[in-house]
Every structure is written in structure tokens, then in C-alpha cells.
Symmetry: C2
Subunit: 395 residues, 2 copies
């Protein structure tokens, strides 16, 4: 069981759930959306946008039962279910998305879209347009010629996908972490289209602290000699830099409690013989962390990490001159679920938006030792609150 | 005043003090200690150890009034006073060390020693033996051939310096951060020589979390193409890697509150025009952080950072098989001063040693927005407690 939890946590593509796999549930199929001449928030135009999306449940006749799930930084649109009965684990929020679950797919049509510049470029189930995509003007990967994209652009791509499906408004937008940024920005940008917002381990904006912290993730990549200012080829990628970045992200997303439990499992002690003897040897906990980061790096692209970090750094809900102005038009009731032990997007980051939206805002704290990841692997501790919030009539 | 605080904080070689400079105080002089064939904790023998030391106040006749100050990771033996009346700032703990201050130099002989592998290799006032020193066997810098050194070795070098001066026992050992590790290890290793211990922003041992966190500091250096497995020359040093490492250290040593105040000063907003337009441009807060790290890197050596990180990773007070055993022989009363807002060595890290030493241990928490650095720049908030602790008779 413990091993299973680690797998879930570190690969971040599965959730801890006690439910038996429902083998009679329909399998998930990845769909593709394409648009031409897509105008971005900063004014540049992408000649083509192609992204993957998937859905669970059935869209009702008047197309009023759609719930959009927006994914986290290292996540994908695979929020629930399995692509094949042989999949090792279902989508990351399977504990709360499914028939009879908190987000009940017998009632709702749940949809999720791969972000622009999705980091999991080499995951066979991910379809994205980003710096690793081919630039039609050069027939080579965009690299750093890819334009800067924002959380608003992820929202606008999702909006285009929904329009194509004829969905004019959303019963709710719900997401963890970077997904929470998208959820809140939806409510700010398109108040008439969003009936409810749930921000899990989110933020109202990227403050100076968070922007600096996100920058730390990008530094190891840019130091890797293979990076070549973003002009690397598939067979010579800056894997060491990407792995170092993921080591940092993995640690910041967890807690001392979690690491020290893992240390116990490994038999960690400060005075381990190898690192005491050789400066080039590592402690057991370091080797463990590096192994996990190496495994995560396999399907990921380093440049895409830089673009996602930038999108998060530029985030302020509403994408205006201030958070206050950005939230002024929000009409949707909101539910904030920060994690008490979060060291990455600390709980204080939702205090301001929660207060600004006070009349229609509710805040419940996630408890546990998983830090930021509490919102990915253990969000089901507030399953009842989520269901109640979704059932509440609005306007 | 604000600028002065930033200077103090970021260069970490000065303290915030409201006292007027006492121009009639004697200037500090750096002294040199050398020993041959110095056996290290891991069994290897250094052919030569040369370190700098300095002192404030006068050693009494029976040599019983000595207080040892042990310095932090990026610090030096310059704990108080000035080398020249023109110095921009005095030593880092000048607010508590001096005539009539918490550590009263009219009563005590206060001494501090540059650590082995001190990071400030190119600071004219620092004398150290480390990976940047010349290996007599090759007549080239040691690089990674320098043996792994531990907190215990720093303690043993200090012990040798004191022996040379005829000092058999210490009225107290006091240090912040890595210095707190040395202070506690002194009490564990040489219980008959240490009368009192003050651990400021310290730890009982490097737990799995802390060891992983320290490893993060080393990763950017090892990614820098100039690093060359540690075989770099003075005119081709891995400055970019070192700077990235210092950006991480600087942020972890501070707090969101501090960064967000700094952001206000800079006019930081998430949607700054340059980073929205170009992926290669940075936010104001990132530029600020990088400038500060670049300035700090000037006198520093990258390999030395790797060795200091390793010394801290290997730390368990007493350097035995467990903290419990390590502290079993401690006879000295101890005073722990963790910082409530510390994100680097979190306050929980002294809970266990404080509880283990319960009968003779006192714990007071530093309050403020400076995080880990509270113990460097604002330790004087517990000046009275320090004085009282030093005045208490023991045994």
C-alpha cells in the first residue's frame, strides 16, 4: 500500500483511492481539438493550436451539465478513468470524479483539456502545442521562438473547445494548483459562463515570492549544456537540468514529515558511509529523490517547463492591473481548498481572493502530511463539501 | 534605513543595529592558525590545515572567560567589530557582541574561527583550507580530491586553535545555523570543555528533508559546464551555477513577507511587460534576486559550497549512530533560539534536542519576517535572555 502511495505521489498521475476498480466503467478516449490563427493574450498569433481533451459522463440535451477540470503544472487532461483496463492507475482525481463520486459523472459531463506547452510532451496520451511543436515557418521545433503563453490562453483554448461542442456555460470549473489559477481566471474573464468555481491548492495571483520560487525551477534547465538556449534535439535533451528541476519541484510539493517517513523506509541516517567517504556519493534520500525525478523526466520537455513556469509567474486572476480589479466581476460562488501543510503555494495565497469574494466564497482547509500534493492525492477528504457546493442552486 | 537592512541581509556580513558606531573600539585583526597532519572524522589525514581566527575582548589570567562563536554556512569568523574604521559594516553579530552588549567583551574573550572549506575563499579577510587550496601532492587546487569534512572537523580545528592559546574550557559556544550545529556538537563531543551552549536557528541533526534540501543547493553548480567535475581554474569558474545556488539559498533563508515587501519596493506585478513579451526576460523580483546572488558570488567558491553542504548533510550532534546517543553525555545547559518564520531550518528541528536535554534546556522563539535570517540579523531581540543565560552559574 505504501509503495502504491509513493507511486501515486511521485508520478502524479494517479490518486490514492480505496474503491475497487470498476471494470465495467467505460474507457476514456483522447479527443483532438485544432484551431488556426489563435490570438494569444500578449497579442501574438499562433498559426495553429492543437490540444487533446477527454471527458467522462454524458452531455445533457441543453448542454447545461458540463464541468471543466483544469489540470496542474505537471499534469494532463487525464483527470479520471483509464485508457485501458490494464492501466496501472486511473487519472489523478479519479477519487472524486466518477459515477456516484463527489463530481458525479451520472449527473455531469466532465471535460478536461491538455494545456498549451504541456510539459508531458512525450506521453503518448498528451496532445499539446508548445515549444516542442513544429513551427510551420521553419519546419523545426519552436524552441524559445514559441510565444509566451499565459493562464488566460489556457482558458481561451478551453473556451474554444467548449464552443466547438456547443457548450455555452459551465456548471463549474474546478482545478488544483495551476488548474486552480485557470478556474479562478475563468470566473474573472467570463463571469456569465461560469456558475461555480473550486480552487484547490491555488492562488489569487503569483506574488513576488511565488514568482521568484517558480524561477528557481527554471535555473537548472538553463544551466544544462544540452539546453543550448532552447535549441536542443530530441536525442540530446537537457535531461540533467530537467531532472534537477523536478527534484526541486518534488521536494517543494511535499513536506518534512513525508520526506522523513520516506527516510525511515530507506534507513536514512546523516552519517551514511558513502557520502562520508566520497564527495561524489549521495545519501539514500537523495538517491531516492533523484530516481523519482529521473522517472518523471522521461515523458517531459524542458522548454515546456520554462513556458509553464512563466504562465504561472504572469498569473493574476482576471489578468488585469490588480487582483482587486480582476475579481470585481466574478459572479460565481467559489470554494477554496488550500492545504494547511503546503510549502509551494502556501495557504495565505488564497486568503485575499477568498476575502474579496467573501459573500459568495467558502474556504475549507485540507489537512495532512502531503503538503501541496494533498490537493492532488487526497482532495477526497472534502468530497462531501464538493458535492454540496455543486448541488447548491445559484442565481 | 531600508537599504541598509537589505545590504545587511543579503550580504550576510552585517547586522542591523541601532547603536552608533563606537569609533574608539579597537579594530579587529585576523590571526592565522596552522597545523600539520590533521586527522579528519572520516579517517583521512589533511597534510596541512590553515585557518583564520579573530577575537574580541581579553583572555583572563586563568583563561576561563572564553566564548567561542561558530559561524553560519555563508559566514566567516568575522562575528563582530571592524577591520578598519572605513568598513561599511561590522561583523554579523555585532549587535550582541561588544562592550556592554549581550555577549559582553569587557567580561568575555570572544573568539571565532574560519571553517574548513569556508565558502568565502576570495574574501581578503578569510583564511581557510578547502577544495580551492593547493594540494601539496600535486601543487594544484584540491578540487574534489579534497577529503569530505564534517561539522566535527570544524569543531576539532577550533579545539586545536584554543589549545594553542592554552584555553582548556569554554564559558559558552554560540552559533547560528551551521554554527548552531557546531555549538551542539561541541557539547556532545567534549562535554567537559563546554559550560554552556546556545543554538540559534539550528538543528539536532540533518533529517532526510534537510539533507535533500541541502542537495538542491549543489545541483546548479554541478550543471554548470564550467564546473568540470570540480577541476575549474580561477579565471573560468562556474559562476552561473554558483549564482543560481545562491538565488535558491537566499530565497529559502527568507520569507514570502520579506519578498513581497521587496516586490512592493520594486513595483512588482505579475503581468510585467517584459516577461509577458519575451520568454528570456525576467520579472523585477527575479532580477533583484539575481543581482543580490551575483554580488554574493563574487568572493565565493563553488566547490566549497559542495563541501559545506555535505558537512551539514552529515550532521548529527555527537556524530554517532543516533541523536539520542550523541546527546547522552551533554552536560552543558543549552539555550535554543529557533525562528518562528524559518523555512530553511524549520523550528521543529530543535524540538527533539530540546526535549532530550529537557532538564537543562531552554527554548525561546525568534519572531519576525526574516525567516532563517532572523537568527543572523535580529538575534538581539533575545539579548537579555542570552545575557542571563551566560550569567547563570553552572555545576
Amino acid at each position: 500500500m505504501r509503495k502504491y502511495i509513493f507511486f501515486c505521489l511521485i508520478l502524479c498521475n494517479a490518486v490514492l483511492t480505496k474503491a475497487e476498480p470498476a471494470t465495467n466503467e467505460p474507457l476514456v478516449e483522447k479527443q483532438v481539438f485544432t484551431a488556426q490563427q489563435f490570438e494569444l493574450f500578449n497579442g501574438t498569433v499562433l498559426p495553429e493550436v492543437t490540444v487533446g481533451w477527454e471527458s467522462y459522463g454524458t452531455l445533457n440535451k441543453d448542454k447545461s451539465n458540463a464541468i471543466l477540470i483544469t489540470h496542474y503544472f505537471t499534469g494532463t487532461s487525464h483527470a479520471a478513468g483509464k485508457y485501458s483496463h490494464n492501466d496501472a492507475a486511473p487519472g489523478y482525481w479519479d477519487a472524486i470524479i466518477g459515477p456516484g463520486k463527489a463530481i458525479d459523472t451520472t449527473k455531469y459531463f466532465v471535460i478536461s483539456v491538455d494545456s498549451l506547452a504541456n510539459i508531458n510532451v512525450y506521453d503518448e496520451h498528451v496532445i499539446t502545442t508548445g515549444p516542442a511543436s513544429i513551427n510551420p515557418a521553419t519546419n523545426k521545433p519552436w524552441g524559445l521562438d514559441f510565444p509566451v503563453v499565459t493562464i488566460r490562453d489556457f482558458v481561451n483554448v478551453q473556451k474554444a473547445v467548449l464552443q466547438r461542442l456547443g457548450i455555452a456555460s459551465l456548471h463549474a470549473v474546478i482545478g488544483p494548483s495551476m488548474g486552480a489559477m485557470q478556474a479562478l481566471d475563468w470566473a474573472a474573464a467570463y463571469p456569465d459562463k461560469v456558475k461555480r468555481v473550486i480552487s484547490v491548492i491555488g492562488a489569487g495571483e503569483s506574488d513576488a515570492w511565488t514568482t521568484a520560487l517558480l524561477e528557481q525551477w527554471t535555473l537548472p534547465i538553463k544551466l544544462d549544456a544540452n539546453w543550448q538556449n532552447g535549441n536542443y534535439s530530441r536525442d540530446n535533451m537537457p535531461i540533467d537540468g530537467l531532472t534537477a528541476s523536478l527534484m526541486l519541484i518534488t521536494q517543494q510539493a511535499l513536506t518534512p514529515e513525508f520526506f522523513n517517513q520516506q527516510g525511515e523506509t530507506l534507513g536514512y541516517t546523516p552519517l551514511e558511509a558513502a557520502p562520508l567517504t566520497r564527495i561524489t556519493s549521495s545519501h539514500s534520500i537523495v538517491k531516492w529523490l533523484k530516481q523519482r525525478a529521473t522517472a518523471r523526466a522521461e515523458n517531459m520537455d524542458a522548454n515546456s517547463l520554462l513556458y509553464l513556469a512563466r504562465a504561472c509567474q504572469l498569473f493574476v486572476a482576471g489578468h488585469g492591473t490588480s487582483l482587486n480589479k480582476g475579481l470585481a466581476d466574478v459572479a460565481a460562488p467559489s470554494l477554496f481548498l488550500p492545504s494547511a501543510s503546503d510549502l509551494l503555494l502556501m495557504p495565505y495565497l488564497v486568503d485575499t481572493p477568498h476575502q474579496m469574494l467573501s459573500e459568495s466564497s467558502k474556504l475549507l482547509t485540507l489537512q495532512g502530511q502531503f503538503g501541496h500534493l494533498e490537493g492532488v492525492v487526497n482532495v477526497q477528504q472534502h468530497a462531501t463539501a464538493i458535492t454540496t457546493f455543486l448541488n447548491n442552486p445559484v442565481r
